[in-house]
């Protein structure tokens, strides 16, 4: 009874070895799968024998093997899904049971079937080395579960995946380096900006042979040239505000100082006595304006009717 099976298995194994010897390139993983398949064939053969078949065509055995493999695979897949659904990583018995039920299998019949008398025992499949899964790079010591975590729960992943390594460097306090950095940074920004502007707009060149070298943004006349030239740029205004807010005390000084090198103390005092200190001019003005009688501030008169020509 066991012969065909053993024959089959032997032939299969022979074919397997043949193929293995024939194709030296066969990978260990492939061998592994072929071995499993062979085992299934043995199983199918024994079941057939159990059912009373004397012999079977090879193609039929193959088909049945295919079916059983599919069935088992499906059970496995489903069971895994159930298990993962419940947030576990390893399927338990109940998962398999549910799967089987789901697949329309009467589970209750299983124990009796298992205990049937005429069942054949087949030898364990030859041990084939399971494929070596290339191991993920293990870095560092994996952490063991703390006591409150059940041991069945998966291990911690490699430490490098979750541990943050605080990198700490001395803040650059070296003045020279700082200045150097600020300078080069500003220069780079300026250069990039001007290059960009030069690339995107019209340019003028100093060289006739190579107009890309030292591109100059083309000079464009403006209709009111004095505005740009006289009004401080926004950047400068910003700086001014910053320095002003930080140096509030210098404010009054600032008002009088620009005269020149010789600061005129008397003049400064006079100015301050006339006005409260600080940039007061705009602040005081509205209230003063009510008093000011300047002909240019007077309302424009309506034409008199009798003046009509």
């Amino acid at each position: 009874m066991a012969d065909p099976a053993s024959v089959g298995s032997g032939s299969l194994s022979a074919s397997g070895t043949r193929s293995g010897s024939g194709k030296t390139t066969t990978s260990p993983a492939e061998n592994y799968y072929l071995a499993r398949r062979r085992t299934l064939q043995v199983v199918v053969s024994s079941l057939l024998t159990e059912c009373g078949f004397e012999s079977a065509e090879k193609a039929a055995v193959e088909s049945l093997t295919e079916m059983i493999q599919s069935y088992i695979s499906e059970v496995g897949r489903s069971a895994k899904s159930y298990c993962e659904h419940t947030a576990r990583s390893t399927p338990t018995l109940s998962d398999v049971v549910v799967t089987l039920i789901e697949m329309g299998f009467n589970v209750d019949t299983l124990p009796t079937y298992a205990k049937r008398s005429q069942r054949m025992v087949i030898t364990a499949p030859p041990v084939t080395n399971s494929p070596v899964v290339p191991k993920a790079l293990a870095a560092g010591q994996k952490r063991v579960h703390p006591p409150y975590i059940p041991s069945h729960l998966p291990d911690f992943p490699d430490p490098h995946t979750y541990i943050k390594t605080p990198t700490f460097r001395e803040p650059v306090s070296d003045y020279q380096v700082l200045r150097e950095k600020a300078a080069s940074q500003r220069r780079d920004v300026e250069r990039a900006l001007t290059r960009f502007m030069a690339k995107t707009g019209e340019t003028q060149s100093l060289f006739k042979d190579d107009i890309t070298a030292f591109p100059l943004i083309a000079a464009r006349p403006s209709s009111i040239p004095y505005l740009n030239a006289l009004l401080p740029s926004e950047l400068e205004l910003q700086t001014l505000e910053e320095t002003d807010s930080s140096e509030q005390d210098d404010q009054t000084d600032n008002e009088n100082a620009p005269s020149n090198t010789v600061t005129d103390e008397a003049g400064a005092d006079k100015e301050n006595s006339v006005l409260p200190p600080g940039g007061v001019v705009p602040a005081v003005k509205p209230s003063e304006e009510t008093v000011i009688d300047n002909p240019y501030l007077r309302p424009v008169k309506k034409p008199k009717v009798r003046r009509k020509k």
């Binding site: 200045r179 030239a229 005129d264």
Partner: protein, 1220 residues
């Protein structure tokens, strides 16, 4: 002249003006036109006043009424075209005399004017009773080229949004350009001014704003001004624009105006004006004479500052924010100048042109007092020295500035300034440079007077003048009261002698009535035996611009025992002066040495000792011994600058070093620095370095020391030890302690060190090594300064600093080593230059994104690029500069770019660029830029009279001639610039590039002509000859027969001495009197000279004139403008170097042009004929003459054609040698 007449002012006019109304009803910015009327109230001062002469230029006059009666008038302006445009004369002597005569013919100071109005005969009777006459004149201006300037930016929006504005401008009395008036500083009257402008605009003018009234449609408003203080017309001005208004927070009667968006700047800029007011009112002990004051800041200003009665017009570029350091003192000075002119110049006016110096002198002098008070004594003395150096240099170069020209009876021969190529008889013939120097000298002379009579008396005099004037101003018009407001030289001197009791006659005679400065040479020796300093002072009074000085001179001798002043008498023959020394030689005793100011200092006298020993070894004679026994530290001649002089003094190097170190007067220090340039020794180096480090020292002295140090270092190159000059000093002062190669972040709170920080790199870049290159170390140092420049923490802008760093880069450039004459490419760029160029490129590009104040960085970059080109590092090419010179860039940028183009024109001798520049002179909207181009061309000319150049050709001569003859008649300053430029290029005599007429060509042609065409009368043949000559002179120039022989005569003697050059003048004058001055196409002109014969026809005729004028509305408003225009277009063709090519086309065009004129003539003739019966008798002879002229002209044209069409003539034209 005036001084002799003590009895006040005598008006040159037969009437007295008392009141004038100016009403401008409409200002059209789109068309740039103005319409209005004036009404002058005059009192005749003679019986039978039948003619009134007024000044008016450019204005189109529609009608004139006298007391509501239509009055005929005549308009004639000889200055439009100075020399008859047919004249072939091309020498400047001829032009200058003709120009002077033309200006004189319409000079309001002499009672003349362009507009001559005949008083209707109905009013003559009234004249007997001296009744008031009201002269009412309607006028308009269309696209004025002078007098009023329209600025209309070309952007979207209405005129107010666009910031369009208009303002009056002019050089001296130029008010006649925008309304008819008596354009003299000596004719005062009260004013009523009305301006109707768009409701969004403000009209600012002189006097008090009485009211502002809307027009009936509410779209416009009328500003009514009243000026009750008698004021001369030249002091009237107007500015209209969408101005922002700022009432001065300290003085509510003062109002400031600026263009939209600039209000914050205005607030800051004006925050100290009240201090200037207070200062002047205090020193003059006199209130500001007007009841209000207005300042207006406008774009494209003619000059930075111009003062008018109760208002001043400034350039908007004077405005600045609180972040700007460098502009602040400049602007304050401008404000102070404007205000000082309010008192002297506007309120007190001058009696005649020769009294101008008094007003300029006083206003300049009190401005100086303001400088002294605000900026300190150092700054003041520095300024005085600067001004003195300037005037001395100018006078020595050009030969003298005369403050008070006395014109004895107007005799032409007594030209007080024969060395000048222009006349100083009228302000409008002066070169601008000369006028600036004139002002400079005037205030220096005032200072001399102050030295003589003391400041207290000086101020008393001013106060007296002002109080007299203000008393007079409050009077209603009475015969002579208002003339108290006019200041004359004699009046001023009388006041001085009354107040001070001193006679300043010699001083005035020396400096005011005489031109020239004094040139001293000084040297000395110490006689040990006699313990006497033997000082020798020589004078050079023979070279041009010098004069002899006789009188006292102060000499200060610093001895070991102290400083001693000695007053020596400079006399005719005494050169040597013995000055006894006070101290015996006893330097071994350690004792402090007292200085002039009482300070006592320790001095290291070892230098003196060393020097003494050395010199003792050298000179064994014993007399000329400046040895260890000499107690002299240094000697100064005329330390107070109380003579207008140049002193070249010789003393030993150690004495200069002591003077630099220990003398406290900045002038002495500066003199010492410039003297030390000649002594490149380690001791000089040490003295300069010490001064540089000394913080108590005046910063301008330290700045000067930087440059001197650079020069010394270059001279000492081989023996120089240690780091490059100033580097370690700069590092110590401005770099970080920890890392000496990095400059500190900017903090400009200390202005002295700011200025020093700016200057030192510029001076350092002048250093050179043995290969005559800028040392690598210095260049890298400057590049690092740029790299590490950090302004984030600074409350001042660093734009000037960065600009100076670029200037430093420019200074570091040296000529490229050019192996073969290959084209400059990127690849063979020197690595250092590549670095420099990269910085410049980056700066220039950044400026587009973040423009700096006044675009200082662009200006510096342009200069740097030109320098790179000039030194052969990059290809020389003007196109970049041309694009920056376009209208629409900031004016400083434009001027810098133009300067580069001017320089390119000279270096590359490019006629194309010269043409481009001259086109800009003719067409640019900004008057300042036009003026600037010509003055830059004059300073850096493409060629001079002394040098040969391919640029010098007839086309250029003609173009420039036309430019000064008629092209610049709207702007006195520009015309004088053109004259200057012409003088620089060609000199006083006929330009050498013009062909000589006696080549035989004319005669040959004439003969040939006679042969070819025997029907032509000999007379016509003669003209034909001239016509042919014209052809070869290449332009539409025609010589009247009368002018022909004279030009021939002159050409025979091209090397005539100057007196002969003056000779043609009377001739030109005579001709002017004989023939109508105006050009043929405008028959409406008559000469004003023929006063007696001119018959002013009836009203009818004048109306015809008006209609005629109205018909010509489309044409330029002033007569005589068309021919130049046509000719300009002819000439604007690029001048090709091959004269033969240009001749034919221009000749044929020339013919066409004449035909066009003929049409004109015919038309006008017809028109004329209509009225002919009315003035037949008077004009018959003239018409006949004219007809004859026309006939001749026609003949000539025909001849011209005959010539061009005849192959023979064509050949002979091309190559004179072919004609036999």
């Amino acid at each position: 002249m005036n001084r002799k007449k003590d009895k006040g002012f005598e008006s040159p006019r037969p009437y007295k003006l008392t009141h004038q109304v100016v009403c401008i009803n409409n200002i059209n910015f789109q068309r740039k036109s103005v319409i209005g009327y004036v009404e002058l109230t005059i009192f005749p001062t003679v019986v039978n006043l039948n003619r009134i002469k007024l000044s008016s230029k450019q204005c189109r006059i529609y009608r004139v009424r006298v007391n509501d009666l239509e009055a005929p008038f005549i308009y004639n302006d000889p200055t439009l075209e100075v020399c008859h445009h047919e004249s072939k004369q091309r020498n400047l002597n001829y032009f200058s005399s003709a120009y002077t005569a033309a200006v004189g013919a319409v000079d309001p100071d002499a009672g003349n004017g362009e507009l001559c109005i005949k008083v209707p005969s109905e009013l003559w009777k009234q004249g007997d009773e001296m009744k008031v006459l009201k002269v009412y004149i309607e006028f308009s201006l269309d696209q004025p080229k002078g007098g009023l300037h329209f600025v209309v930016p070309d952007i979207e929006g209405n005129m107010a949004e666009r910031g369009a504005h208009v303002f009056s401008f002019g050089y001296q009395n130029s008010t006649r350009f925008w309304f008819p008036c008596v354009d003299s500083y000596s004719e005062l009257c009260t004013w009523k001014l009305e301006f109707t402008v768009d409701a969004s605009m403000v009209a600012v003018s002189c006097g008090d704003l009485v009211e502002t009234v809307y027009t009936h449609d509410m779209r416009k408003k009328t500003f009514h001004y009243v000026l009750p203080i008698p004021t001369a017309a030249p002091n009237i001005s107007l500015a209209v624009g969408p101005f922002e208004i700022l009432v001065d927070p300290y003085m509510h009667e003062v109002t400031h105006f600026c263009l939209p968006q600039l209000l914050p700047l205005l607030k800051h800029t004006m925050s100290y004006l009240h201090e200037i007011f207070e200062f002047y009112e205090e020193i003059l002990t006199c209130r500001y004479p007007y009841s209000c004051f207005k300042t207006v800041f406008v774009d494209e200003a003619y000059v930075q500052v111009s003062s008018y009665a109760s208002m001043s017009i400034f350039s908007t570029n004077l405005l600045h924010s609180a972040m700007i350091i460098d502009q602040t003192p400049v602007t304050r000075r401008c404000l102070a100048q404007a205000l000082s002119q309010q008192f002297f110049g506007c309120f007190i006016s001058r009696m005649s042109w020769s009294d101008e110096w008094v007003l300029k002198g006083i206003s300049g002098y009190i401005y100086g007092l303001y400088l002294k008070k605000t900026f300190g004594v150092n700054e003041y003395r520095h300024w005085i020295k600067e001004e003195l150096d300037k005037i001395v240099e100018y006078e020595l170069k050009t030969g003298g500035v005369l403050l008070h020209p006395a014109f004895c009876g107007g005799k032409e021969k007594d030209n007080p300034t024969p060395h000048l190529h222009f006349s100083i008889k009228h302000p409008h013939t002066l070169s601008w440079e000369y006028y600036k120097m004139f002002q400079c000298k005037a205030h220096l002379v005032m200072r001399l007077i102050e030295n003589r009579i003391s400041m207290e008396f000086m101020l008393q005099v001013f106060n007296k003048l002002l109080s007299l004037a203000s008393t007079a101003s409050s009077q209603k018009y009475q015969s002579h009261m208002w003339s108290q407001m006019l200041l004359s030289t004699s009046g001023f001197l009388k006041s001085i002698s009354n107040v001070s009791g001193k006679d300043i006659g010699p001083l005035i005679k020396q400096w005011v009535d005489q031109s020239g400065v004094v040139k001293f040479f000084g040297s000395f020796a110490f006689n040990r035996k006699r313990n006497v300093l033997e000082l020798e002072i020589r004078q050079d009074y023979t070279s041009s611009g010098t004069q002899k000085y006789v009188g006292p001179i102060k000499v200060t001798v610093q001895e070991l025992d102290g400083s001693f002043n000695h007053t020596l008498q400079i006399e005719e023959n005494s050169l040597k002066h013995d000055i006894p020394c006070h101290s015996k030689s006893r330097r071994n005793k350690k004792k402090k040495i007292p200085l002039m100011n009482g300070e006592e200092v320790d001095m290291d006298l070892s230098a003196m000792e060393r020097q003494g020993n050395r010199s003792r070894r050298k000179t064994s004679t014993g007399v000329f011994e400046l040895g260890a026994d000499s107690p002299l530290l240094w000697i100064r001649i005329d330390p107070d600058m109380s003579i207008l002089r140049k002193v070249e003094f010789e003393q030993a190097d150690f004495m200069w070093q002591y003077q630099l170190r220990y003398e406290r007067d900045v002038v002495a220090q500066e003199e010492a620095i410039s003297a030390l340039e000649k002594f490149p020794t380690p001791a000089s180096r040490l003295a300069l370095t010490d001064i540089l480090e000394q913080e108590q020292c005046f910063y301008k002295v330290r700045m000067q020391a930087c440059f001197c140090l650079a020069k010394i270092a270059n001279s000492m190159m081989s023996t120089w030890t240690g780091p490059p000059a100033m580097k370690s000093l700069f590092t110590r002062m401005f770099c970080c302690k920890s890392c000496p190669n990095i400059v500190k972040t900017n903090n400009f709170i200390n202005f002295q060190s700011y200025f020093l920080q700016k200057t030192m790199p510029v001076a350092m870049a002048l250093l050179r090594d043995m290969q005559n290159l800028c040392p690598k170390e210095v260049l890298n140092f400057i590049l690092d300064l740029i790299k590490y420049n950090d302004n984030r923490k600074n409350k001042f802008s660093d734009n000037y600093y960065r600009a100076e760093l670029i200037d430093a880069l420019t200074n570091s450039l040296t000529p490229a080593i050019n192996i073969s004459n290959e084209v400059r490419t990127v690849d063979n760029l020197n690595s250092d230059v590549r670095l420099i160029l990269e910085e410049i490129t980056r700066f220039l590009n950044m400026e587009k994104l973040l423009p700096s104040y006044r675009n200082t960085i662009t200006v510096s970059c342009l200069r740097a690029i030109r320098m790179l080109q000039k030194n052969g590092h990059i290809p020389s090419d003007p196109s970049l500069f041309k694009s920056y010179a376009q209208y629409g860039h900031f004016v400083d940028v434009r001027v810098a770019a133009l300067e580069a183009v001017v320089d390119y024109t000279r270096v590359d001798r490019s006629s194309e660029e010269l043409q481009w520049l001259l086109d800009m002179v003719q067409n640019d909207p900004s008057h300042y830029v036009r003026h600037k181009i010509l003055s830059m061309l004059g300073k850096n000319p493409p060629f001079t009279k002394a040098s040969e150049s391919s640029l010098c050709n007839e086309a250029l001569v003609d173009q420039l001639w036309k430019l000064m003859n008629s092209g610049t008649s709207h702007d006195w300053r520009l015309r004088c610039d053109a004259v200057n430029f012409y003088y620089t290029l060609f000199g006083l005599t006929r330009p050498s590039c013009l062909p000589l007429p006696e080549l035989g060509l004319v005669l040959n042609l004439k003969e040939k002509k006679a042969v070819l065409n025997p029907t032509i009368k000999p007379e016509a043949g003669g003209i034909g000859g001239v016509g042919a000559l014209d052809l070869c002179a290449n332009g539409g120039i025609h010589t009247p027969i009368s002018g022909f022989p004279s030009s021939l005569e002159e050409e025979h003697l091209p090397m005539e001495p100057p007196p002969n050059g003056v000779a043609p003048a009377p001739h030109g004058l005579k001709r002017k009197a004989e023939t109508p001055l105006g050009s043929p196409p405008e028959p409406v002109q008559f000469t004003a000279q023929e006063e007696e014969d001119i018959d002013m026809d009836t009203v009818h005729d004048s109306q015809a004139f008006i209609y005629h004028h109205l018909n010509m509305l489309e044409r330029p408003s002033t007569p005589g403008k068309e021919p130049p225009l046509v000719e300009q277009t002819l000439l604007s063709m690029p001048a090709t170097p091959l004269p033969a090519f240009i001749k034919e086309p221009s000749a044929s065009k020339h013919g066409e042009h004449h035909h066009r004129h003929h049409h004109h003539d015919h038309k006008k003739k017809k028109k004329k004929h209509k009225h002919k019966h009315k003035h037949k008798h008077k004009h018959e002879s003239k018409d006949k003459d004219k007809d004859k002229d026309r006939e001749r002209e026609r003949d000539r044209d025909r001849d011209a054609h005959a010539f061009t069409s005849s192959p023979a003539s064509g050949r002979s034209l091309r190559s004179p040698s072919l004609s036999d």
